[in-house]
Each structure stands twice: as C-alpha cells, then as structure tokens.
C-alpha cells in the first residue's frame, strides 16, 4: 500500500514546481460569494468548526468582506504533514491551512505555501507584535507566510504536594539540584517517576533537547547556520546530553521508558500524580489544574527552567495560505486574507478590535500565544492566574527562543537523523560525543548539498 501511495505521489509530484503569481490588481467585487477550503489538524474540532462558522456569519455582516462559506477538512496531527504533502502534490485546492514552525522552511521552499503579504502587504504589521521565538514560524526568507493562532514554549512544571511530602520546599533552580531533589524524592518513595519527559521520536524530543541547551545559555547553531557542537567541541549541547544520559542510567531520575513517552503520555502521568517534574508545552497547565480530569488539580505549579540562564525552546502553530489561492479570483483571495486575520490576527467584532480567536484558545483551552500585546488583556491575565504563577509563565516565555536551524529547508531531514542519534546516546548504544559529532557532520553535509 505504501509503495502504491509513494508511486502515486511520484506521479502527482510531476505537477509541482510551476510558477504562479497572485492575481493582478483590479476591482474586487465584495458582494460575490466566496468559497474557501481550510485544512486543520484534529484538535478540539468542535471549536474549530465554531470559529469558522463565526467567520462565515461575520463575513455576511461586513460590507467589506465577501460573504464566505468554508469547507473544512481535518487530519490527525501525527499524519497531518504527510496528508498535506499529498494534497499539495496532487494540486488539491487548499486555501487556508494550519502549519507549524518546523514545516515552514520546506513547505515554502517547495512552493506549497505562499507569502500572505503578497495578498495584503498590510499584514506585515503583525510582525512587530510577535515574540521573537515565534517569528521563524511565520517568516521565511524575510517574507511573511502566516499568522499565529498559538505560540508556546517548553515549561518546567512540578507537583507541589509531592515535593512537600519529601520535605522539599522549593523547585530546583539548577540541573544539579534536579538530581539532588530527585534522589531525595526517590529515597522518600513518594512518587513513581521523578522526572517524565516526552522523548519518543517526535518533534517534542527536539523541543526538550533545545530547551535543556538554552537553559544553560547554549546555542546549537551560530548566525551562519553552522553547528556549535561536533567533534572536539564542548559546551551546553554536550553537557546537557551527558546530563540526560546520567539522569536516566546513573541516577535513575528520568525513567528509561521516557524514550517511548509522547507528550500526551507525560501529561497523563503527571495528571495521575505519578511524576514530580515534567517538561511539557505550557498549555498543559490548564489541563493539569482541571478537577475531575486531573488528580493533581491545584498541585501543579510552574517553575523556571532549571539551569544557569533558564532559557527554553519556543514554537509556533500557524495559519498559512496554500498555493491554490494564487489561482483564485480576487474576491476569494480577499476572503482568505480576512479569514487568516480572523483566525490568527485582529478583527473588529461588536466594536472591539482584538485577537479574538487566539484569545478564545488562550482562555478556553489554555493555549499560549505569540503576540506581546495579548499579555495586556485583563481576561487572559485573570484566567492564567487561576492556573498558575503568571509571572513565571511570562518570564519563561520572555526567555524562550526558537529552535535554531529551523529556518533551513534541510532541518527536517537533519532533525530526524538527530532524534535517532539522540536516542542512541540515551540508550547508551553510542556516546554523546560520537552522537553530536555525527549530527554536526550530517548537518554540514546536508547544508553543502542544498547550497550546491
């Protein structure tokens, strides 16, 4: 079956690479109905559908927006990238779609997504309001390719009750303290898994590793896109990989099973009260504090990432325009511009201009955001304060950085190699030095291939 799909894909691929440009300027008839095709991944679909329905109603009430109907399709996050690649190659009509920062460089290079600023240069105004760590998720080669509906970072979360039972008064500030407190928690026998991390082969593995490196003030790539790690090189990447290996095999603080834990598995373990420390995307705090679905409601608390610099990795989830929009008439393109702003920007509803949909996700689902001005929204502040320490959350997000290297189109191929190599180090089938040395060589090889 896979072979057949690959073969069919190969055929479809023949249709790619055509040069198409946005429709020429001209009068836009805003009275003409527009039909848009939107693709999302499967997350709270009822709310996504409701948001789209709200847009449809909003578009009919506005004299400057074509009355719009939206056809939505969804795919699970795990298969989303493959599904979208197939659709793009097949020339499917996808006008507005969700994306993620780690896909943008290759999608943009392949021409699957197109700059949204080409449809309305005014959209660039959002860039100033964005946190730096989310910008690689929407900017490629200097052009704006999307708007955010969700921006977040990897957050250190601990269980206050479990620490209290072991006589620990405050969360760890450094990675040595994590080990010391972990030993104390183990000795006290108050928790099954001291420190659970989502280290299965998935994007979360790289998020965690980047977060560890950033927490020590380290970098993975310099400004020229060359790795800071590699043969004979020392520094935070090597230090933190060694730390992680020892935390699993020497100290027994991180369970070996962490190599098969997805981020939702870590969430479940923490919610069940079976872990003292976790590193997860910060949006999970809302779920941790929900009575009825979490046994640790009221016990979860945020702490700054342990380390010398307390930095962390941030990421962006976005909306983009598919290349199919280039072939649509102007009124459909205008509807898409309005839709992407409705979903990931500011629009006026009932006389209030705000990031209505990102705000809705933040308040109702606890999703993070990447627009600085949203921190000033009293509704958002009030809700976050109900979940945890907003000052820690805000400071941690200030110290978040994007995953270096993500802006290069070969990142996806390299990071897949890197994840598997990280696993080998974590399983102790290879040394951290060898793993980082090979990862650096692979990066340079791919870089040379693409630049050639």
């Amino acid at each position: 079956m896979l072979l057949a799909v690959t073969l069919v894909l190969a055929v479809l691929g023949a249709g790619c690479g055509r040069e198409v440009t946005p429709a020429q300027d001209g009068e836009v008839d805003v009275t003409k109905p527009a039909k848009l095709v939107a693709t999302v991944w499967t997350y709270d679909l009822a709310k996504v559908a409701d948001n789209l329905q709200r847009f449809e109603q909003w578009s009919r009430a506005r004299p400057d927006v074509p009355p719009t109907t939206i056809e939505m399709s969804d795919f699970p996050f795990g298969t989303y990238e493959a599904a979208l690649t197939t659709r793009f190659l097949g020339g499917a009509r996808v006008h507005v779609l969700r994306g993620s920062d780690h896909w943008l460089s290759k999608w943009a290079t392949a021409g699957f997504v197109v700059p949204i600023e080409d449809f309305d240069p005014e959209l660039r105004r959002y860039i100033d309001d964005m946190d730096d760590f989310v910008k690689p998720g929407v900017l490629y080669d200097g052009k704006l390719y999307g708007l955010l509906y969700y921006g977040d970072h990897m957050q250190f979360v601990y269980n206050t009750e479990i620490l209290k039972r072991a006589g620990i008064e405050r969360p760890p500030q450094t990675w040595d303290e994590v080990l010391a407190q972990g030993a104390k928690l183990k000795a006290a026998g108050v928790v099954r898994d001291v420190f659970a991390l989502p280290l299965v082969l998935s994007p979360w593995l790289e998020e965690v590793f980047y977060a560890l490196v950033y927490s020590q003030g380290g970098r993975l790539f310099d400004d020229q896109g060359n790795p800071t790690f590699g043969e004979g090189k020392t520094g935070p990447p090597l230090d933190m990989l060694r730390w992680l290996v020892d935390a699993i095999h020497v100290h027994g603080i991180v369970p070996a099973k962490t190599l098969e834990m997805r981020v939702v598995d870590v969430q479940e373990v923490f919610k069940a009260g079976d872990a003292a420390f976790v590193i997860v995307p910060s949006y999970m705090l809302a779920e941790f504090q929900k009575p009825g679905v979490s046994k640790v409601a009221g016990q979860a608390q945020l702490a700054m990432m342990p380390g010398t610099h307390h930095g962390t990795a941030g990421f962006a989830r976005t909306y983009h325009f598919g290349r199919a929009l280039l072939n649509e008439p102007k009124h459909v393109q205008l509807a898409a511009v309005k839709l992407i702003q409705f979903l990931g920007g500011q629009v006026e509803i009932d006389g209030v201009t705000a990031y209505h949909i990102p705000k809705r996700w933040a308040i109702e689902n606890g999703l993070g955001f990447g627009y600085k001005s949203m921190w000033e929204d009293p509704d958002i502040v009030r809700v976050i304060q109900g979940w945890g320490d907003i000052d820690v959350l805000r400071e941690q997000r200030r110290l978040a950085s994007h995953k270096e290297g993500i802006e290069y189109p070969w990142y996806a191929e390299w990071v897949s190699f890197f994840q598997a190599e990280l696993h080998k180090a974590l399983m102790r089938t290879r040394t951290p030095e060898d793993v980082l040395s090979d990862a650096a060589k692979r990066w340079l090889k791919l870089k040379a291939e693409f630049e050639r």
């Binding site: 690959t6 073969l7 055929v11 795990g78 898994d193 190599l259 098969e260 834990m261 373990v269």
Partner: protein, 305 residues
Amino acid sequence: MPAGASTRAGSILAKPDHRYAAVSILPSVLVVFAVVIYPLIYAVMMSFRDSRMGVLGGFIGLANYARLFSDVEFRLAIVRTLVLTVIAVALVIVISLGVAMVVNERFRGSSFIKLALLLPYALPGTLSALIWRWMYDPSYGILNAVLYHTGFIKEYVTFTGDPRTAMGAIILAHVWKFVPYSAFLFVAGLSSIPPGLYEAARIDGASSLTIFRKITLPLLAPAMQLALIVQTVFAVLYHFGLVYIITGGGPGRATTTLPWYVYSETFRFMQFGRGSAAAVVLALIMLVFIYVYLVALSPKERTVS
C-alpha cells in the same frame, strides 16, 4: 508489432465472444494501468532523477541508488525488513497451521472459535496498532500489569522503548493480526483433502506425524504457497502501520524498516527521487521472495507418497 501477431489479435477479436470479453475487462485494465502500471513506470523513472523539496530535477542516472546503498541506515533498514519478514512469516505460518488443524476439527464451540478468530484480521490496521500501543504502554499498559501481578516482572518495563524488545513488539502485534488470514486459508485447504486418504493411512498403521508429513503437508501445498506469498507481502508492507503508530521507527532506529525509510524520505524529507528508489528496492525484495515461493512450491513438487 509483427504482422503475424497483428493478424492473430485481429482474428481473436473477430469472434463475438472474444470481443465481449475484451470489452468487459477493458475498464479493469484501464484502472490497473492508471493506478499501478503507469505510477510504477513513473516511479522507476523518478528514481533516476534528482527530485527534492517537491521540485523535479534532471536525470542523474543511478545516483539515488548509489546514495541509498552508501547509507548505512538504508542497508540496516533492509536487514531489519528481512529479519522481520522471515520471523513474522514463519511464526504466522506455523501458528496459523496449528490453529487451522484445531478449528478444522468439529467440537462444541468450534464455530464460535472460528468467528472469534476473524476479529484481529477484521479490525482496521490503525485500530489494532492503537490497541497494541496501549497494551505496551510502560506506565499503564495491560501487558505490564499482567506480568507484574503474576510475578514475572518486579517493575514495569519498557517494551517499545528498548531496542532489544521493540522489534519483537512489532512482530508480535503483526503476527496477532495476520494469523487468522492464513488459518482460514489452511482450513479451506484441509477441508479439500479427501478423508479417505487419512482412513487408508490409518489402516496401514501410519502415525499422526507421518500422516501430517506425508498427506496433510503435501496436499496443503497450494494453500501454503498462497499463504506464503500473501503473508510475505503483508510482512514486508503492512507492518508499516504498527511502526508508524507504536514506535515511529525508534527507539533510535531499532524499528526503522524499509517502508518506514521510504515514508521518511518521501513524506518527511520530500526527497522523492530517493524515496522512489527505495520503493523500487522494496518492490524488488518482495518479488524475490515471491519468486522463491513460486519455484520452491511449484505444482510438480506436490505428491503424496
């Protein structure tokens, strides 16, 4: 086309029955050409071209194949695929033959067992993969719970996060799903063996083992051949869903097999040239297996001694 052949084709189509037959199968032929033959040819051509990030490049000869075979991970993926295929097919065949011998007997509840046996195969692949992922779960999985409470393990273990057990976990889930298919093939084969042969053998004093070796196995050869071919295709290709859902090719690359490699190159890295080349290698491996089965179990070999 030679003139003689053209004339022969013309004379065949001149008969109304033949014309009717040709028209009847034409839609199927067109569909097969459109979704199998043409993509196959195109993929082979693609494997000789430079193609990355969804953009088709020029002809590069065997460069994609050279790069693949210089990649140690590709070679290891072939080895893992072969190991998985050999073990999975052997287990499926042996277990399903045993199951078929049991359910072929008439006893109270045998109909229910036959029906229940179909369940694993009837479940959608994704669903059965999810079931196994939950069973293997290192924190709350039922497999850990059973082993722990029966005293086989002192603490919960990781099945799919350990390179020593991850492939075994994939094979076990695969075998569970595909045993019923072959079991029913064998049941059909067993029911076609004339009972008189068994009665004659018993009268001659043959033991059960001798009867199995000299009568059952030879007469099951057609079913065995079909089972081997189908199970090989299943093992080479259909474990992909399990890898996709349970291990993601890990830990490390412990479960990175050829289908996963093809998927990664094609969908994740958008290296369509290399992905096509890897898919061609995958197809060739399957053809070799199938050829071996066809030769080894050809009809002339089947005799009852």
